[in-house]
Amino acid sequence: MTAFVLVFAPVFTALFGILFAAVVALRPPGLALSVRVPQAHAGDAVIRTAILRFRWGLVIAWVITAIVTAVLALTGQTPLATILPVLLYAVLTVVILVINRRTILRAKREGNWFDGVPVRVSAQLTSPAPQHPSIVWPALAAVVLAIATAVDVAIYPGLPSSIPVHFDISGHADRFAAKSVWSVFGLLIIGAAVVVLLAALSVVAARYSARIQTDDTAEQSALRTQVQRTILTTLLSRVSFVIALGLSAIELIQRLAPGTSWAIGGCAIGMVVVLMAVVISAVVRGRAQLQPANVRDPRSPRPDAVDDDDHWKGGLLYVNRDDPALIVPRRFGLGWTMNLGRPAGVAITILLLVAIAALVTSVILLAHGR
């Protein structure tokens, strides 16, 4: 049990650390640690140093997280040892980002990097056709869930009237419920809901239209849009398959071979490891595919983007009253962020935060078996 607690936070934060370090490499040349820089300065030593320090900072933050986890776990603070280090790591990452981008911001301000540089805002007048996300993985996920459901239906009449619905961290059943559709099929229903949700998200992601990086050529801009769409859709569809497979396996093991807690634990850990591999491989492949979009041809220079750093608080939060867009692509990382300069953006953000807080609270309460 302590072993699981000792491993959880470091593994979880290592995944995010690797992801952040890799995501920095996905950046277009005009953005360095979420600071807008003109092409003429994109290769400056100050930028390379800041990025290198940011990556080392991630490693140091991870070491601190691991030490805090070990101290908490060995002093018996079990639930704290899983949650607190993850929060600590998130805070440290933001601090490291803010500190390192500040050195770039200072160099940019003192060197007047944008003085006399021609800037433009750009858009795609004819948009590339939306891609159709592959249905192979979601279909496989549905097949796996259907098989598990069929097995459950077949053995349903023979199940005891009391069903184990919750297991402690070492896999022993510690909560039971009366036999019902929910207590038997609950896990599979959650799995199906996740698959449907992720499929819906990948339809949206397939239409993902990135804000144009002004210094991209038309071809580079099209490539960037296409690669970003592909990364998001493949990630979502593969993650949905892994979750369906993992949950189906856990469901079948606990029905067909009750008491094999090690097998259930193995499935859960296997699922997390495979999810990590899926995320890392998608980012690494995307990075290779984006390579041609990050090369600048000095013979046919493109104008630079407008310096919009004032609207990006800490490089992470977007606040711009004059921008009609409610959702804008993140400058750091993949996906989107809300425009907090618009009332609707603030409202949606608050709703999301409340939803996340509710989810975390319910997971903690569940883990305590209450």
Partner: protein
């Protein structure tokens, strides 16, 4: 097709948008029937007010170069192969008169003005032919 707008320019943003669409039709980047991004899509990509983009589209509609329908959105309505709308030539001659007057007033010789117009026209034609070749 990419459109670049200069936010610091003297020329209004909607005018820059309109001018670039007209040029793209002339040099064959945009063909009749090709569909354009909606006003909202374009405004949120640029990060500028929808009314500004709408004004640019409105100019193009008045000139008959773009038409907007509820079903297919905004599409390019004309191209170099079409006959000009009645009244266009007279209108355009008036604007050209001002442009030529500027050149003459600034002392550009007639021969230089003719050479410039010839080479600009030749550019449009050459670019159109290139695009037709590479697309077929």
């Amino acid at each position: 097709m990419l459109i670049d707008i200069d936010p610091d320019s003297e020329s209004p943003l909607y005018q820059q948008l309109r001018d670039q669409v007209v040029r793209a039709i002339a040099d064959g980047t945009l063909h009749p029937g090709e569909s354009l991004a909606s006003v909202r899509q374009l405004a949120s990509q640029f990060g500028i007010n929808s009314a500004t983009v709408g004004k640019g589209y409105e100019l193009l509609r008045q000139e008959g170069l773009v038409r907007t329908s509820r079903r297919s959105g905004s599409v390019v309505a004309r191209g170099p192969a079409d006959d000009p709308t009645p009244g266009f030539a007279a209108d355009w001659t008036e604007r050209l008169r001002t442009l030529l007057a500027e050149a003459v007033a600034h002392g550009l010789p007639d021969a230089a003005i003719r050479a410039t117009t010839d080479s600009l026209l030749a550019d449009f034609t050459a670019q159109r032919t290139d695009r037709r070749k590479s697309s077929s």
